[in-house]
Symmetry: C2
């Protein structure tokens, strides 16, 4: 059927936990990992929650995830810190880093914490939102672990999809949050198009001649042939529409997450090289600049204004960043997280390999 299975979030969380336990992951790592992943699925960011498990299972087979890591602060000032992730999946060191930034920003007004020697951390927005829920502005970024973005004019991908997430606190609305790959789209969206048997819009993926690829399986297959020149466009899409800006943003993220914490620039590595991922987090307290509550009420006014704008098409109202995720969250908390057939099969395989019970088909 085209309709995906709907899985209650408690079942999804239990499934993730059981797999991580079977993998020998330390309890202190499992907790934040399951929290971040299941929240990501509730918020509708299907490409970065449980949809990542087949890739994590592959990384585990390759011995690329430290299951009982020694995550620690290796350099620290009152407003900065560098954390070593010891090869852990990124969710735990990233959670620790943003919590550290939040604590420092509450004391000093501003803080930046970076992470080196980490792995994929899920959706960047999860960490930016942690700050907003504590009344702070939050910024989160990572140099995604595999080459995807083809710089303007170039014939090969160099950067990961290098996301930028930003969140800010409100009073009457949900927090403002953006969470965006600096590519036109995330690789995960192409994978979902394959799962859902949909064509791609022109300008998402380029071939070695610099032309667009519309067929999703061809495009996804191209990600296995990056050396030939396949890849994703930077935000902007085409040069005439300023793809050099998306390219510049991707490079900015690489600088913040590679050169600042000290993780390799993946563009210069060959595809088989083992390498870690870096993260960058910033927290800023509005109270350093404004009187109590002024920032939040003015942001609420902006959000209300945006939501009230006249749309071109009355059937497509103007959205505020974060709206689609908040709608998904409200729906999925009640009706469960949709899991497409191909992901169900992939998860069944992950469970079989880990020797844990497959829980997701119980509510199909």
């Amino acid at each position: 059927m085209a309709e995906a299975h709907r899985i209650p979030v408690v079942t999804l969380r239990q499934q993730l936990r059981n797999i991580f336990v079977a993998w020998g992951m330390a309890e202190a790592i499992i907790r934040p990992t399951v929290d971040v992943m299941s929240e990501t699925d509730l918020r509708g960011i299907d490409s970065h929650g449980i949809g990542m498990m087949p890739m994590y299972a592959e990384m585990r087979r390759q011995g690329r995830i430290t299951m009982r890591p020694d995550i620690k602060v290796v350099r620290e000032t009152p407003v900065t810190a560098l954390i070593d992730g010891d090869g852990s999946l990124g969710h735990a060191p990233a959670t620790m880093a943003m919590n550290l930034a939040i604590g420092k920003a509450k004391a000093a007004g501003l803080a930046a914490v970076t992470v080196r020697r980490s792995r994929h951390f899920g959706a960047a927005g999860s960490y930016a939102l942690m700050a907003a829920r504590e009344g702070l502005i939050g910024l989160a970024s990572t140099n995604a672990g595999s080459k995807a973005i083809v710089p303007t004019r170039a014939r090969e991908p160099v950067f990961g999809t290098n996301p930028i997430a930003f969140a800010a606190p409100t009073k009457t609305n949900k927090p403002f949050v953006i969470d965006m790959a600096t590519s036109t789209v995330a690789v995960g969206k192409v994978k979902l198009a394959v799962y859902n048997n949909q064509p791609l819009p022109e300008g998402w993926v380029v071939d070695p001649a610099g032309s667009g690829v519309r067929n999703a399986p061809d495009a996804f297959d191209g990600f296995g042939r990056l050396a030939e020149g396949y890849g994703i466009t930077p935000l902007g899409g085409l040069a005439a529409l300023s793809s050099h800006k998306g390219y510049g943003l991707a490079a900015m993220v690489e600088i913040l997450c590679s050169m600042v914490p000290g993780t390799p620039f993946i563009g210069a590595l060959d595809d088989s090289s083992e390498h870690h991922t870096g993260h960058f987090f910033l927290a800023l307290d509005p109270i350093a600049f404004r009187e109590e509550g002024e920032f939040e009420s003015e942001l609420d006014a902006m959000i209300d204004h945006l939501r009230g704008l006249s749309p071109h098409d009355p059937a497509l109202p103007v959205l505020v960043p974060g709206d689609p995720e908040d709608l998904a969250h409200a729906d999925r908390l009640v009706n469960g997280v949709p899991i497409p057939d191909m992901l169900m099969q992939a998860m069944a395989n992950v469970c079989r390999e880990a020797n844990v019970e497959f829980l997701l088909n119980g509510s199909a």
Copy 2:
């Protein structure tokens, strides 16, 4: 003639200075303003240097520039500060703010300084580069003063072109720098297309029906009829190519430059409302995270790698952010700054109104 006049930078600086003196601007304001504007012209950012003078002259006629402002720090911690610009042209308070951020970041590792009650500050990259030249990572942003960007799905412009600039220090290369409007293009580029009699690429400017405008004078004329629904697209251009990301970035800049320092959100004001502009600056010292020199040498390696990539077209080599500006700077320092005919005429008018000698035609 199609070929623009070439004006030596010393002449351009003298022309700007003479006009500002005639306007009664304080000497302490003139110096940073002329420095930032002339450097912007040398770096080839024609839309944000002397090309702004006709608009500044119009703002002056309207009494919207404080010529002898009392610019001061109104709130301060070791890592943050809020500056009141007292209605000055933005270049002076912005220069003061970034210098303050640089000093604090050298002492503490990290600093953020914001400015309220300011005006147009020229090119954001000028301030990010100040940090990079001092060995720091710099970020600069402003909520540009007139509505231009139409949010995805909406029928009216809400945000200015809200630029993001980011610069980082190097050893062997020029500093890395991006300086980008969060629109597909800057309003100034449409104005230059009018000056240069060129058509617009599809997707830069939308009309009230949401369709693209190709004719540059029509598009520029549309900026005078914003209430009808003309405006510039967010980075991405069309919804299918993720214009919601450019919209999100424009909103992020508005939050940092409006709600954080405390300046009005222009989207909610009618077009005749008097309002100020805000700025946001961040400086970060890599030494807080790395050993001396590691950051710079790894960034140099990334820049060298990018510049060495194979291009789709050998006639169009892969560029590194900042390359076009560095090439323009090398050329213009020797050969002068090109000034199109229409700008020459506009500057002649500005000089006539200010009762100062028109110097730019001396080398035409």
